[in-house]
């Protein structure tokens, strides 16, 4: 019965038409779904590009701020020298420069200047002006730079009780107004206590990433520390003040940028 039905050729046109319909539907749906996939890829690509551009724009903004900045600090050693006369009895001289004698033939003494004594007073002053061209950082960061200076650059003869620097702060770049994803991050002083060579303890490290965690970037701003030495003096009749300035100037150079670094 079943075999007969299968081999029967009656009604085959309808069956073939249905088969054709099925094939057309299948092929059509494959083509349309491929086109939709392509459109979806565009949206993902656009979001990804926007996220990358948001992070790189924020990085560039911070780079411009940091590389414009400079920091100066100095210890001033103040040496005050005061020369004072020492009084005592000296022989009285006549107009010709000879000693005057009294009626007993003894030399006459009078009170006068027997010599000069110079006294020296040494003191130190810390000169910590503000960060120049700072458009970004809070006062706490400047305070940490000051501590970093005191810890690493204090002259040996001056005691410094400043502790090693440990500073990190959160960054948030809000560009909602532009419809650009928010970028967050973290910045810190490199804080490497063993990094005496090259003064890298002033290096600033900034990590930025898009809020969702995508497209992270890490920038390290190396610092250039230039020592400055100056001497200036003031003087009067019997005093002289010398100002020995032992300072540094810190500039931050263009950063090395690498991908990655999201927390």
């Amino acid at each position: 019965m079943l075999r007969k039905k299968l081999n029967s050729k009656r009604g085959v046109t309808l069956l073939l038409a249905l088969l054709l319909f099925l094939i057309c539907a299948l092929v059509g749906s494959v083509v349309v779904s491929a086109a939709y996939t392509s459109a979806g890829r565009y949206v993902r690509n656009k979001d990804s590009q926007q996220s990358y551009l948001a992070v790189m724009s924020a990085a560039r903004l911070i780079e411009e701020c940091v590389t414009d900045m400079s920091y100066e600090a100095a210890y001033v050693k103040i040496v005050e020298e005061v020369t004072q006369p020492q009084y005592g009895l000296i022989p009285l001289k006549d107009e010709d420069g000879n000693n005057v004698l009294d009626e007993n033939g003894e030399i006459v003494y009078v009170e006068g200047i027997t010599g000069y004594v110079t006294s020296e007073f040494v003191s130190y002053e810390l000169d910590l002006p503000n960060l120049v061209n700072n458009r970004l950082f809070e006062q706490e960061f400047i305070d940490k730079l000051d501590i970093c200076y005191q810890y690493h650059h204090t002259p040996d003869e001056v005691y410094s009780g400043a502790p090693p620097v440990d500073y990190a702060s959160d960054i948030s770049v809000n560009s909602d107004e532009l419809g650009i994803p928010k970028v967050v991050g973290q910045m810190c002083l490199s804080c490497d206590d063993n990094a005496d060579e090259g003064n890298s303890h002033f290096d600033i490290v900034v990590k930025l990433w898009e809020e969702s965690g995508a497209n992270a970037v890490t920038m390290k701003f190396p610092c250039r520390v230039t020592p400055t030495h100056e001497l200036s003096t003031e003087s009067g009749d019997n005093w002289n003040i010398s100002y020995f300035t032992y300072g540094i100037e810190v500039e931050w150079l263009s950063p090395t940028v690498r991908k990655g670094g999201a927390e």
Binding site: F21, I23, S38, A39, I171
Partner: protein
């Protein structure tokens, strides 16, 4: 041959009409889907071109799309506001004004 011509065996008219209708529907369906896919594809190509040109503008800071917009940057407790120029259209980047 003569037997074939004189034969009464065939599809009924209803069956034949149904088959024609189904075939027509299938063809129309396929044609519609192919047209839609083609349009979608064309739109995707145009979007890709626009995106590419917008990314180029945004990366090279050419093609200013907006000026004097504000960005706020908070570092620790300090909030700073910067005036920026905006570049690109579909996707955008920004740069500090005068930077």
């Amino acid at each position: 041959m003569k037997r074939k011509i004189c034969s009464n065996r065939a599809e009924t008219l209803v069956e034949a009409l149904c088959a024609v209708l189904i075939t027509a529907l299938a063809t129309a369906l396929l044609a519609g889907m192919v047209t839609s896919a083609s349009r979608l594809n064309e739109a995707a190509v145009n979007n890709d071109d626009e995106l590419y040109s917008s990314v180029t503008e945004a990366e090279t800071f050419s093609g200013v799309s907006d000026t004097e917009r504000e960005i706020s940057v908070a570092v620790g407790g300090k909030v700073n506001t910067f005036t920026v120029d905006v570049f690109g259209d579909v996707v955008t980047s920004y740069k500090m004004r005068g930077g």
